[in-house]
């Protein structure tokens, strides 16, 4: 049994304590915006925030999260897709297939929360998620748009 606080709601789930947070979010809680890409902390598709920190949930056992810790998934990034990054993603048509984009947005939003005006180098250092469709330049442009950085 584990108690989790996800997007402001409490969930009691009955799972093996070794189960990765990713699969609890997807299968027990039923939020499928957080994706499985590799399962070994390589791709970032599974990124969620735990107390504001971007975490690769595929490699985080559910037992490592306390009920007090606030988990935010892509579904909880904003109530109505109004986060500046979500708006920028739509304005710039960032996604191609879209499969990696939940993870990209969660990493980018954690970056902007700490560093509201990141430099190009800071963006490159933070954004280590794989996008097989190759949307990187639009991701970078989207972050800058959301941060109000011109040029």
């Amino acid at each position: 049994m584990a108690r989790l606080t996800i997007n402001g709601k409490t969930h009691d789930v009955n799972v093996d304590p070794d189960t990765p947070l990713l699969w609890v979010i997807r299968e027990q809680v039923g939020l499928t915006g957080t994706k499985y890409g590799c399962g070994v902390a390589q791709c970032g598709a599974c990124t969620v925030h735990v107390d504001g920190e971007p975490m690769r949930s595929c490699s985080l056992p559910v037992s490592a999260v306390t009920p007090e810790q606030k988990i935010t998934t892509i579904e909880g990034l904003s109530p109505d897709a109004s986060h500046p990054l979500q708006k920028a993603w739509i304005a710039m048509d960032v996604p191609q297939c879209g499969y990696c984009q939940s993870g990209q947005l969660m990493v980018a939003s954690a970056l902007l929360a700490k560093t509201p005006k990141p430099t190009d180098d800071q963006i490159a250092e933070a954004m280590l998620n794989i996008c097989r469709c190759g949307t990187y330049n639009r991701i970078k442009a989207g972050i800058k748009m959301a941060a109000g950085i011109t040029g």
């Binding site: 093996d16 070794d18 189960t19 990765p20 699969w23 997807r26 299968e27 027990q28 039923g30 939020l31 499928t32 915006g33 957080t34 994706k35 499985y36 890409g37 590799c38 399962g39 070994v40 390589q42 791709c43 598709a45 998934t73 892509i74 579904e75 990034l77 904003s78 897709a81 990054l85 979500q86 993603w89 739509i90 048509d93 960032v94 996604p95 191609q96 297939c97 879209g98 499969y99 990696c100 984009q101 939940s102 947005l105 963006i123 490159a124 250092e125 954004m127 280590l128 998620n129 794989i130 996008c131 097989r132 469709c133 190759g134 949307t135 990187y136 330049n137 639009r138 991701i139 970078k140």
Partner: protein, 726 residues
């Protein structure tokens, strides 16, 4: 024209009503098709207009990120003259296509053909629907249709001051005969097509709402994980499930066909962890000692073999080489690569409890093939099967080459009739059971005369044939015609641009037992690397500028030349580059389009490569959505350069050695160059855009690396080489 055959229209309504899956499917992908238009009669197969003026455009191809759905909708909407703000799309099912005598044509979305090979009939579908809507209004008003005007879905008759909307006359329009003559607009007058429209499918991709195949949840659904024999061609001897049977959530452990084991469980994580605990005994079979080294030896033998299939021949290359003032020779190689779609393979299947019907929900690049696979795997007739197509989390050819994952899902779900089972391959399973980019080598021999003109070129390709592996029926007397992509003597698909008087391009087919597949760009990728890098070698040997050297041979190929000139000019070829920065060029034609690139790179003292900027030009004939073409160009660089710089699938003991992204890395944002795209449609043909830029990605960068370091990288990937100055 069968696709506008209105007599078949009623079939749609009838079949939709009887599709069992759709009753639960109204809120799920695949069921959407019937949900959106259920109860609303169509104007024709392509267009449904609802009473509230919403226009539903049916799309036969599929979106895997490349924007085809938006592009095709633009083409239909353009001719339909509807309000773009009211356009939505839906996928008809392969079962419906079968029942309606393929009214929507080919569902295959591969070979960069989604738009170019259906543009004519989808535009006619839109135009015919517009004509029928106008005629319906004219009939109501009792005026000649020719006196009516239409804009943004509003039909007006100026003389009588009347107007109506598409939604109001749709019912009547659907009952009219389809027009026989369907004139199309001059693309120069387009207002929706040809414009950088935002994609129709972005909003769901930024808030987690979008449901991929791997996300699907059906009522009562179980989950499955699978392991197939890791050695190609190996079989299942037996398994011992004692360690997991009776554990919470575990329903069944089953053999799948003759070479795999699956666990069916309440959740996927339970299935996957249980599968890891099942003891499986494999018969590794005849390929147990296969290795990349053995493949390389086989290919090297092919480089010198007497027999080979000829792809392009002119004059007498051997004689011209013997008489050359200068002879140049080089051997190149490109390894296997994996598609590594971001979303692993998956499919959900449900058998009817009477075992007389199977439904499948899956990401697929060819729903008709998925349907055929479901039928073959189930032993049922195709009419007893249905496939609901779901947008792909990446395709890149993998989900066009094989529907092995559909076969698995159908076989597994048969164990629990009436219950849907979602099968997801783990990333490891996905890596081990790909359909890999074919492995090839190429020996090139060039002859120069005293003035440095190319008098002869021999290009011996040795290696794997994709068609021999996936569709041997398509071989022509044993010859694989697509082995010569981009090197062909003529045709509209991929013609060699260079005029070389004595030429011999041939292919010694050597097929290791690694499944080959259509991998974004396909054989164009290595063919362009081989030729464009070797042309650079010849230019260097001739002491000539790489651009001028190419120009001399492209006089008879103005479109090849135009894209090359465009990148050279914008890329600053011939002008000083920033300190430490070096440039490389490449051009190629494939999938009907002409592409060129000029890359700017630097290599630091430690030998680290940085790609700073790439200027890319594409002449795809018609540009339906220029901002999406730019996205495809950028994505192509990521896909092509990831492969050239760091990706290699190697085989040891008959098995793929790379099992996840830690050993199969991909380019990241930090590796990304600035990309400047030049979309320059010349207007008299239709070419593809999803793949072509890949062809020039690697050779432009490799040629720039030579300029920077004096090193010719001839076997890929690049990370095997030390780029430090010697």
């Amino acid at each position: 024209m069968t696709h506008l055959d209105t007599s078949r229209r009623r079939f749609m309504v009838g079949s939709a009503a009887t599709l069992g899956g759709l009753s639960i499917g109204f809120h799920i992908p695949g069921g959407e098709a019937a949900a959106q238009t259920a109860g609303t009669p169509e104007i024709n197969a392509w267009v449904v207009v609802k009473p509230d003026d919403t226009v539903v455009i049916r799309i036969a191809r599929i979106d895997m990120g490349q924007g085809t759905v938006t592009g095709l909708a633009q083409l239909v909407a353009e001719e339909l003259e509807c309000d773009w703000a009211k356009v939505t799309t839906e996928y008809p099912t392969p079962g419906q296509n079968l029942a309606r005598n393929r009214v929507w044509g080919n569902f295959q979305t591969a070979g960069s053909q989604g738009i170019r090979q259906s543009q004519d009939y989808v535009r006619k579908g839109g135009a015919a629907a517009r004509m029928m809507l106008v005629e319906a209004a004219a009939k109501q008003w009792n005026v000649p249709a020719a006196e009516c005007r239409v804009a943004k879905g509003v039909i007006t008759h100026a003389a009588s001051g009347r107007s109506t909307t598409y939604g109001k006359v749709a019912d009547a329009a659907g009952k009219l005969e389809a027009p026989k003559e369907i004139p199309l607009k001059d693309p120069k007058t387009w207002t929706i097509a040809g414009k950088p429209m935002p994609r129709l499918d972005t909003a769901d991709k930024v808030d987690g709402r979008k449901i991929f195949g791997a996300d699907l949840v059906l009522p009562g659904m179980l989950n499955a994980a699978i392991k197939a024999c890791p050695v190609f061609g190996g079989k299942l001897k037996g398994f011992d499930a004692a360690a997991v049977s009776g554990k919470p959530g575990i329903r069944k452990v089953v053999a799948v066909g003759d070479n795999a084991v699956a666990v069916i469980a309440d959740t996927w994580w339970q299935a996957k962890t249980a599968l890891d605990a099942v003891k499986i005994d494999w018969d590794n079979g005849p390929n147990a000692d296969m290795s990349s080294e053995k493949t390389a030896a086989m290919l090297r033998e092919g480089l010198e073999a007497k027999e080979a299939f000829v792809g392009n021949q002119a004059g007498d290359a051997d004689a011209a080489i013997a008489a050359a003032a200068k002879k140049i020779e080089a051997v190149y190689s490109v390894p296997h690569q994996h598609h590594a779609t971001m979303e692993p393979m998956n499919a959900t299947a449900r058998w009817a409890t009477a075992l007389d019907r199977v439904e499948v929900w899956c990401p697929t690049q060819n729903g008709e093939s998925a349907l055929a696979t479901a039928a073959a795997a189930s032993g049922l007739q195709p009419q007893q099967c249905e496939v609901y197509r779901i947008d792909l989390g990446g395709g890149f050819g993998r989900r066009a080459t094989s529907h092995d994952y559909v076969r698995h899902a159908v076989l597994i779900a048969k164990e629990v009739p009436g219950t849907p089972v979602k099968l997801i391959w783990s990333r490891e399973e996905d890596m081990l059971h790909g359909w890999y980019h074919p492995v090839t080598m190429c020996k090139l021999t060039g002859a120069l005369d005293a003035q440095g003109n190319v008098t002869a070129l021999k290009m011996r390709i040795s290696g794997q044939s994709i068609l021999a592996g996936v569709n041997p029926n398509a071989l022509q007397n044993g010859r694989d015609p697509i082995a010569f992509q981009g090197l062909n003597p003529g045709g509209t698909e991929g013609r060699l641009g260079y005029a070389i008087p004595n030429l011999m391009i041939d292919h010694a087919m050597r097929n290791p037992a690694v499944p080959p597949g259509f991998w974004r760009g396909v054989n164009n990728n290595q063919n362009a690397i081989y030729l464009e890098c070797f042309v650079d070698e010849m230019a260097h040997a001739a002491g000539q500028d790489a651009l001028e050297f190419r120009r001399k041979m492209l006089g008879g190929s103005p479109k090849h030349l135009a894209v090359l000139n465009a990148v050279a000019e914008k890329g600053g070829w011939g002008k000083p580059a920033p300190a430490g920065v070096f440039r490389g060029l490449a051009q190629h034609m494939g999938y009907g389009s002409y592409v060129a690139a000029c890359a700017e790179i630097s290599v630091d003292a430690a030998g680290k490569l940085k790609v700073h900027r790439i200027v890319a030009a594409t002449d795809c004939g018609h540009a339906v959505n220029p901002q999406q073409i730019a996205a495809q160009i950028e994505g192509s660089f990521v896909y092509g350069l990831s492969a050239a710089l760091m990706q290699e699938i190697t085989i040891k003991d008959g098995k793929v050695e790379q099992e996840n992204f830690d050993s199969y890395p991909c380019m990241l944002l930090e590796d990304m160059p600035a990309v400047e795209s030049i979309v320059m449609p010349s207007g008299d043909f239709w070419g593809g855009v999803g793949e072509p830029t890949i062809f020039v990605a690697a050779p432009a960068v490799l040629n720039a690396i030579f300029a920077a370091t004096g090193k010719r990288i001839r076997d890929l990937p690049l990370n095997k080489h030390d780029l430090r100055k010697a």
